[in-house]
Symmetry: C2
Subunit: 487 residues, 2 copies
């Protein structure tokens, strides 16, 4: 395991102080131009040197005819050129003294034939000059903590705690907005491309040591260095969880992955074995991978698999109970003391079992305060799962019926929502137990947005919540096992 990211060959790729950029122009139909636009939009703070054979300026930056004209030795070269001139450009970078490169250009190993030879030459050049390459056929790296984004799509949202190493570059870009909507973000995301001379294992080690990364996600179409992969993961897992999505398992996925990055996928069961040995939690979809990262990176670890469900609706409660049951989670009965404490808050139509089904709250505020507080104090519960359905229309309708104007009802409603969300967030902080929610509302519903923005994971549908909670439980077990077998 790395003691610090500075020991990683990827350190100056993910944290360059200056960048030479090959392949951007003022033509917006060119890919390179878009990558440079993303970099500039991110507000990268070091100097950026576009290299262009003709233009004097590229996107308003002074351009250089050749890498040799750049007034310093940049930390990183980003190369988005036609395949045929990538290798000679890398030679020039090597002569200049550049030691890191992101090669975005495709047309190498992934296309077979000639491309395989070209990639061999690329690696040789890199070796000769001591250059570490991320790529080719990748989108490089997004490190919002360093205001770096070499990908095609402008970054959205805040820097976050999820470290990603991906054998799909576009997946990274397409998660910017997705994660931002959940209130999440990347610490650093690597697109490994063809892994010519840095690979998934290097990324894993980097992210294991990265102080901004609380949980590591891996998008895998095929592992090239199995032993190193398992070793690296086993060293990281005791400190931070690792989640992986492997798509080569089905025949169709295998074929698609091969034509994509040229990585050779193995049978599903082989990968199950690798992940088990490595202590990695396997996700079955992109959504699930980030759901797992969400809870693993933001919630305290549970002491056990016992979930208490709080709802005011029988159906959603039953669905959640069923989903938890299917995922191997337990729904403990409540202790007598808890039932007694809850009694004053629950109407006679409600049911003080597990799920605690209030049917309706005598006082809606208690749904966010005394009731979850009491449930977090229940010693038989390890985790709390709450069904959120605030129906702002119902609140506003009530307030208007009480004589408030529409405007005042809206404001008053917002105040209530804020108070509710803050109360739940406070309980999460105070009790050291995982608190999550599920809903069928939009994530942009003010009540849900308020919870997300305060760090409460709220899932669309109880199944996603149950699976995420079971990932928490699985991590606790995997970690224990790794620590036991490591000695």
């Amino acid at each position: 395991m790395l003691n610090s990211i500075e020991e990683s060959p990827l350190y100056r790729i993910a944290n360059p102080r200056s960048i030479a950029f090959f392949g951007a122009s003022n033509n917006v139909t060119s890919m390179g131009t878009h990558l440079l636009m993303s970099l500039l939009a991110m507000g990268f703070e070091g100097p950026v040197y576009p290299v262009h054979p003709k233009e004097t300026h590229v996107l308003n930056l002074p351009a250089y005819r050749s890498v040799f004209d750049i007034p310093q030795v940049p930390d990183l070269a980003v190369i988005v050129l036609p395949t045929g001139i990538v290798n000679e450009t890398l030679v020039a970078c090597g002569e200049k003294g550049i030691k890191q490169a992101v090669v975005v250009s495709g047309g190498f190993k992934e296309v077979g034939g000639e491309g395989v030879l070209l990639e061999k030459k690329l690696v040789k050049i890199a070796q000769r000059y001591g250059i570490r390459i991320l790529g080719p056929n990748g989108l490089g790296v997004a490190n919002p903590h360093s205001k770096l984004n070499t990908t095609f799509v402008p970054h959205e949202g805040k820097p976050g705690f999820i470290g990603l190493a991906s054998q799909s570059g576009s997946l990274i870009t397409q998660m910017f907005g997705y994660l931002a909507r959940l209130g999440l973000g990347f610490s650093t995301a690597f697109s490994v491309g063809n892994e010519a001379n840095t690979d998934l294992v290097d990324c894993l080690e980097y992210l294991g040591a990265c102080p901004h990364t609380k949980v590591v996600a891996l998008y895998i179409e095929g592992i090239r260095r199995g032993e190193g992969f398992i070793k690296a993961a086993r060293e990281i897992v005791p400190h931070k969880p690792v989640v992986a999505l492997y798509v080569g398992g089905s025949e169709a996925g295998r074929r698609a992955g091969f034509s994509h990055t040229g990585a050779l996928a193995g049978p599903d069961m082989l990968y199950d074995g690798i992940f088990r040995q490595a202590g990695i939690i396997r996700a079955r979809s992109v959504t699930e991978m980030f759901d797992f990262c969400w809870v693993l990176g933001s919630l305290p670890l549970p002491s056990g698999p016992r979930v208490i469900i709080q709802t005011h609706s029988g159906g959603p409660g039953a669905v959640a109970a069923d989903a938890c049951g299917r995922m191997g989670l337990e729904l403990p009965g409540l202790s007598e003391e808890t039932v007694e404490k809850l009694d004053p808050f629950v109407p006679h139509t409600g049911s003080i079992q597990n799920p605690v089904d209030l049917t309706f709250a005598k006082n809606p505020w208690h749904f966010y305060s005394e009731i979850p507080k009491t449930l977090l104090e229940e010693p038989k519960g390890d985790m709390l799962l709450i069904y959120f359905f605030m129906a702002p229309q119902v609140i506003e309708r009530s307030l208007m019926q009480m004589g408030l104007s529409q405007e005042d009802a809206r404001k008053e409603g917002q105040k209530l929502v804020k108070m509710n969300c803050e109360s739940i967030a406070g309980l999460l902080r105070s009790y050291g137990k995982p608190v999550t929610g599920y809903t069928f509302l939009s994530l942009e519903d003010p009540g849900i947005r308020g919870l997300l923005d305060r760090g409460i994971p709220v899932f669309q549908g109880p199944e996603r919540a149950a699976r995420a909670l079971s990932a928490l439980v699985r991590y606790v077990r995997l970690r224990k096992r790794i620590l036991r077998t490591a000695t």
Copy 2:
């Protein structure tokens, strides 16, 4: 099978011309008041008669001291009163001549003991007067086509084609917004409650005959009348698909369901058998149930299980291929003719296999026109699945770089998005093959919204899309089997 909904005991419950309302007041903390507010907000067009012992007006409607003071015999009584006075109220309704009632009040069979006796009495009264009851302990019915909504939550969105019978009332209310965001809606949704003298089977038969209903959804915690259920479903399935979610399968789900409606759930496998016999497609979650309804109610049926995937991103393509493979769908290779026709549109980095991975479009417009058109013409493909990621920021950024102002770039971007969406919708209409999409964007992204509003199902994540497409294939098979065994 019913020849028309008018034969159903639920006909005047779902299509009343006038309503007597018991339990609403001017007090907004009362449940009954909220239900009446929902009804009024929906714009119900017939007369509504609140019955209240003291008020002269309820929510600005003239109120009546007793049901006998109402100047006509209303089609429907909605009763939201304390448990103890429900039965005597039903007697009065019977004396008045009312033949239909929605009983929302709880405290009957579902609470055990005394409640069981009360419900027996309720049923006896109903029999004596020939009243058909929906409930008790339910939320009644939402029929947006008739501007009827007796539930707790104001209706959102447009009338739709999904007919729901649910053993959870709150589930209905919580789907109003959910479905509206997908561009969907209920034709009619029944909350059956304790099923005192109308039940799930009655609802199933009603929805089978309902002309607005293209697909029937069932939320089930326990079936009370197994034989009738299977018979009704088998008669409907040849004409329209039926999807069911059963939550009693796990021990936890079973217990939660029992305390909720008092229905006795059976083991999961028993229900698997019932659904198989009945020709019903089983869903594993609320999300999945409505995903299935979405494609089944809005897309043409496929001739087989062969899916062609169109993407411009390798990772999302591989994930979708894997998901389709896992769901038993096939990914056929493309015929030589198709490859030839596609060649001019695909850059050299792309891959004309299945998935068709463009990596980028030489001309973005082709992604929405010539390319999917060619794929729909491929005889080896039964369905088309497209990865949508329009990245409006990228489009706007390009246009601005080309010299347009931000405002003009936004407008021009919107025009492009509209053109793209219309092209896809046109292809769906022209080729008679299912076309669906998947994305990681928000449903509120203009490009996605545009597709949803034009009737293209776009799923968040490829797994949901793959499962939905496999439900289409399953329905074709189930339907054939039922038609074969019915003769």
